[in-house]
Amino acid sequence: MTELLANLALGFSVAAHPYNFGFCLLGALVGTLVGVLPGIGTVATVAMLLPITFGLPPVGALIMLAGIYYGAQYGGSTTSILVNIPGEATSVVTCLDGHQMARQGRAGAALSIAAIGSFFAGCVATVLVAALGAPLTSLALLFGPAEYFALMVLGLIFAVVLAKGSVLKAIAMILLGLLLSMVGSDLETGAGRMTFDIAELSDGIGFANVAMGVFGFAEIIRNLEMSQASRDILQSKIKGLMPTRQDLIDSSGAIARGTVLGSLLGILPGGGAVVASFAAYTFEKRVSKNPERFGRGEIRGVAAPEAANNAAAQTSFIPLLTLGIPPNAVMALMVGAMTIHGIVPGPQVMTKQPELFWGMIASMWLGNLMLVIINLPLVGVWVTLLRVPYRLLYPSIIVFCCIGIYSINNSPTDVVIAASSAWSVIGWSSTTSSRRRWCWPSCSGR
């Protein structure tokens, strides 16, 4: 216990350093921005900013990238509630009740409950990361290749189980991901696998490139048809940001349940914030005494998923920091960010770089505190941003993505890979109703 407190003290001293504090704030701001703006997701943003972090100190860079992930969970709810368009995939269900509440003139209450729920979940999840960090790390240090292989298999199985829709298609997507990870030189013999004699492919297809294509370009292309007309931003002034006593009593149970559910799903591979928010909403509806109120402005329907997605966003760092295994796409990019800085994700991080490990945990708590302030009193600023026409926004994102991918390796081929993976996803999803789920098992040595 004293050790934990000492570690946390170290963490806070790192996180409170003005430099890291600034990066945390920057991450929270960028996260809120991409959360609020529909049409650009967390994965694309983190992928886009990967090259930028190259020149930063590692602790600051990772604190910023983490801030983007959980910051987006806060920002996403704002757009869901006020515009009825999910700003982020994780706040799709928040639209259902959140926008109804806004229609009934209770936008302020919905926004504040979403933020309070997220903050509570964030605090609990931070404690969970800190508490589970040490024991899981000591366990992970005992792991050998066999145990890691078993974990990977478990991860793939979870990816199938947690996928929405057809199990068969989920399996097919995992196989496709495995097949794509085969491209490149064989680890043992050096023979080029499926490289078509293209030199640039001999290193394999980078995860960042495909992620950018799938989550960046493809999303934008799909959103192109979304015109400004479909956005009916609530014009009336948001009033009453403080929730009433009754609101707090009503939603406290939902927040607690959402936090527990989100924390669990965040740790599981294949889970993450999207699954958590859906699961929390469904669960809340099931345990509710009057489920017919859901979809008609029930405050619990806002509180539970918002708490869950933030909890999941933060607990998904647990497998990354202790076992070195990314449970979802954003965490896979975090692996990339760590590798850029020469940090090997896994149990060694905590023993070799305690200031990174505990600094990140402490920064999560600070970041959550900042986000409440960024999101509640400043909500008007973000709503103004929603008025930026999409026709100017999307070319900027495209250009930014292009430069970002190019700069990772100074390689135009990477840009082409991203573009082609975006196209194959679009082609596939316009023919198939399955949700895409790319698995990128980094362990697949063979």
Partner: protein, 177 residues
């Protein structure tokens, strides 16, 4: 949506109907990918004894992918599913063109190696960014020229400032040094 006749199977006719076109063609696409992968890795040495060769895993995964693709296609054949939605090509085509142009222009590209007598010199970050922005914005139906050009200039300036001056990445800015 347009008619009931389409969604209900024809009675009496001998014609066979794909019930879930989306899944059917999606499955076929997976099979195609698997076949390409099998062909591409066919020359790699495979398994000898218990040891994996470099070709074993790709062929194994490709075969499994082909099987699951076939199952998806079969499901599409017999189970009612969504139709293939209409797909607007205009916007995506411009976006794709913009991305590819960026890739081709920033460091230049020599198309003579694939038989097209055309060579683009390295044009640098400024021109590539500006072109990519303008091309991709042309995909929008709500495009206005003046606004777009101003936005393109602003974005180019922002990117140059951020990537080259603030982050110090070694980019070539102009076609000449």
């Amino acid at each position: 949506m347009s008619g009931e006749a389409k969604s209900s199977p024809k009675r009496g006719g001998f014609q066979f109907k794909v019930r879930g076109p989306r899944d059917f063609y999606g499955g076929l696409a997976l099979i195609a990918v698997a076949i390409i992968a099998i062909l591409a890795s066919s020359e790699l040495p495979g398994q000898h004894g218990f040891a994996f060769g470099p070709g074993t895993a790709p062929r194994m995964f490709a075969t499994m992918l082909a099987i699951s693709g076939a199952l998806v296609a079969l499901c599409g054949l017999f189970i009612d599913g969504p139709k293939i939605g209409s797909f607007a090509f205009r916007g995506p085509a411009y976006v794709l063109a913009a991305i590819l142009l960026f890739a081709g222009m920033i460091r230049g590209i020599d198309l003579r190696m694939i038989g097209i007598p055309f060579k683009v010199p390295p044009l640098g970050l400024v021109i590539s960014t500006f072109t990519a922005f303008v091309i991709s914005i042309m995909g929008s139906t709500e495009m206005r020229w003046l606004e777009s050009l101003i936005a393109a200039l602003a974005m180019t300036a922002f990117c140059v400032g951020l990537f080259v001056y603030l982050l110090g990445l070694p980019f070539q800015l102009w076609p000449f040094y």
